[in-house]
Symmetry: C2
Subunit: 415 residues, 2 copies
């Protein structure tokens, strides 16, 4: 059960002019499930993406980078679940290229205008014949209002489909930003997470779109962790179809609002992944401030967010908060003065507890009472706020707790 | 149940001339358990230690460093379980000093000749009055053959006591090396682990002893991980009483044998911690070779050893080996060529399976068969061997799998 998250209804996912989506059952790994998604983009569409920094990245990630190296003009995305096509060597590249060629042939575009994405088991070969055989059905299913179906078709261990949508008025036009994502485990994105797609019908120039994709990832998918494992297939793509007829550049008065809408959709999608984290029962925001650099704040936030001991204490609703201090201590800030660190516990929920100061001067805060910690730890949404007492930089990481079900899901996966 | 480990019998733990140990029930955190250990050392004994690099280190760690800053001469160790005396600020230092002063007063030595050690819950204050009140009983219990009892008295979430002992003949004398350790969770030592003590009756000069402690830690406690959490209290101390009358220096023909005996005891103690890792059902050796530097080999070995996905796959005996490739890929070697990496799976057990090549050329090895992987994964001892194809450096990390019981133990601890 995801933590305070439900998939938006189909009607709440606004179509993006210039985008049609179709899904099909290709039998990639399992029968009787829609495991193939085709996204068709109108001529003139552009895309930019950020991808995993995993050195054993998947073949489709390598091919996405290659296909986006030009001017970013794009006509289609093709996404399969079941097999990640990662650690598949040369044969994996051949399969990814064959997939793009098949889509290009069906849609009448160039293969380099198609981006391929795969998610699933690593070290197994993609059954490219079955994938290609499923494409006509996906093409026949292409519809502008298929975002909800596509969000479902890209799931693997996800328990809910993840999607978000915004409509804003810009210059007398209605501009839409809609996106979907998937992911629940192997989540510690280091550029972006396992499959996130956001599209808008605004027109955005290639260079600016690339910057938008990077910035949106940094404010969303690059702030989450479930288990600290960086996937081989992390991909986040922002698409601008231009089909609304509104061109937005960095000097435009519309840019801040469009940028904010893309950020909001990306952040909602990223947080949804944590809320649906494998075995998650709680959603934890770790906010680290007063740091010397944003990077050291991120280090501390991730140390807390990755610690199995911290995460199991959250699962148990046990205010065993010394584990947070220990994680801060080993986060890698060599000259950290423990006496200058302060830690608060609070809740994200409205009308919930005020923040409680847990630790200062290198020890337990004099005002801290165990019952306050216990009360907050029972919430489904918890904020850990850390003040490093070294500067003005800050960073936030969103994570979840660590439960029996994480082990169950990952011990059972594949079998 | 630890993986292929049982505590040596009392008779297999050879007394070290110049060392007497006593234990007592001080009621530090729980009643009716021996939670206080006193180790008395003969005049002329020296010690050297390595300690956690956690910036939120415990008060006793700070005091140990202070007390070892001189010539290393030492008369006693005092160890309590239940409360870690970590993240306890100034009051924690006062408690640690009071503990040393009380021991010094009982034994008639200087407070700086006493090293204090604490292990247990962080962020709670040490009940120093109860500790001091327990000291006379521990003193009355002092015996040379109490290593077995002391190994039990320093346990927290450990399911077995950990001890190791060697006797070697050097220059017509019998020299003994005996040690104990504790630890099962919060194990990713970064200098040494949560309480390891090794004593010998050889005489070793202060500078050489310090080097020996560092080298022994690097070959033992610095090669293990259970959950990636570096403790606030990690301490590893090597003691040389000199009571055998044999002085060994670096030029001595006896040095290599003595060094090897200390290494062997330290390694046995460190591996025992992993074998008794919280919830462990398997013991995994990760051996990374052909690296550019030892440090990058360690990075890769720890990335594999820390990955919850790899560890749950081992728990499930599921050869989902793409997870190992993913961990190698995100270990942080920016210019790693995935196509040059090879991975083998094998067993530590005698008469067990030969090594199986799992992956090469960036993908699954042509010769690899799933049934070979499945057969090896069923073993209680498994070796993952990685060849980075970049150089000649190597590193080994020992770890365990990740089971339901890890979550259970850490969600329940304290409650």
């Amino acid at each position: 059960m995801p933590v305070n998250y439900a998939t938006p209804t189909p009607a709440a996912l606004f179509p993006v002019a210039g985008v049609r989506l179709g899904t099909a059952e290709a039998g990639i790994r399992k029968k009787d499930r829609r495991d193939l998604t085709l996204v068709e983009l109108a001529p003139g569409s552009r895309a930019a993406g950020v991808f995993t920094q995993n050195r054993c990245c998947a073949a489709p990630v390598t091919l996405c980078r290659e296909h986006l190296a030009g001017d970013g003009s794009l006509r289609a995305l093709v996404i399969n679940t079941g097999i990640a096509n990662a650690a598949t060597g040369e044969q994996g590249m051949v399969a990814a290229r064959a997939t793009c060629a098949a889509v290009a042939s069906l849609l009448g575009c160039a293969a380099r205008e198609v981006l391929p994405f795969s998610t699933g088991v690593i070290l197994e070969h993609l059954p490219v014949d079955r994938l290609v055989a499923g494409l006509p059905a996906a093409m026949a299913d292409l519809k502008a209002d298929n975002w909800h179906a596509a969000a479902h078709a890209i799931m693997t261990t996800d328990t809910v489909a993840k999607a978000a949508s915004r409509r804003i008025e810009l210059g007398g036009k209605t501009i839409t930003v809609t996106g979907i994502s998937k992911g629940a485990g192997m989540i510690r994105p280091n550029m972006a997470t396992m499959l996130g797609f956001v599209a808008t019908d605004a027109e955005i120039a290639a260079g600016l779109l690339a910057q938008l994709a990077r910035d949106a990832a940094d404010q969303s998918f690059n702030c989450i962790t479930v288990d600290g494992d960086t996937s081989t297939n992390d991909s986040f793509v922002v698409i601008a179809t231009g089909a609304s007829g509104l061109e937005v550049d960095i000097a435009s008065p519309h840019w801040p609002a469009l940028r904010a809408a893309v950020f909001a959709v990306a952040q909602e999608l990223a947080q949804a992944i944590v809320r649906d984290g494998e075995g998650a029962t709680k959603f934890i925001s770790v906010k680290v401030g007063a740091g010397g650099t944003a990077e050291e704040c991120r280090q501390v936030a991730y140390a807390i967010g990755h610690s199995p001991l911290v995460k199991t204490a959250f699962f148990a609703s046990d205010p065993n908060l010394g584990r947070i201090l220990a994680a801060i201590g080993y986060a890698g800030i060599a000259d950290l003065d423990a006496a200058g660190v302060r830690v608060w516990l609070g809740s994200n929920e409205k009308n919930a507890d005020e923040e409680v100061l847990v630790s200062e001067h290198g020890g337990r805060a004099a005002s801290y009472r165990e019952e306050d910690g216990s009360r907050i730890m029972k919430n489904a949404e918890i904020t850990v706020r850390v003040d490093l007492g070294r500067g003005t930089a800050a960073a936030t990481v969103w994570t979840c707790d660590f439960s029996y079900d994480y082990v169950k899901i990952n011990a059972d996966y594949r079998s």
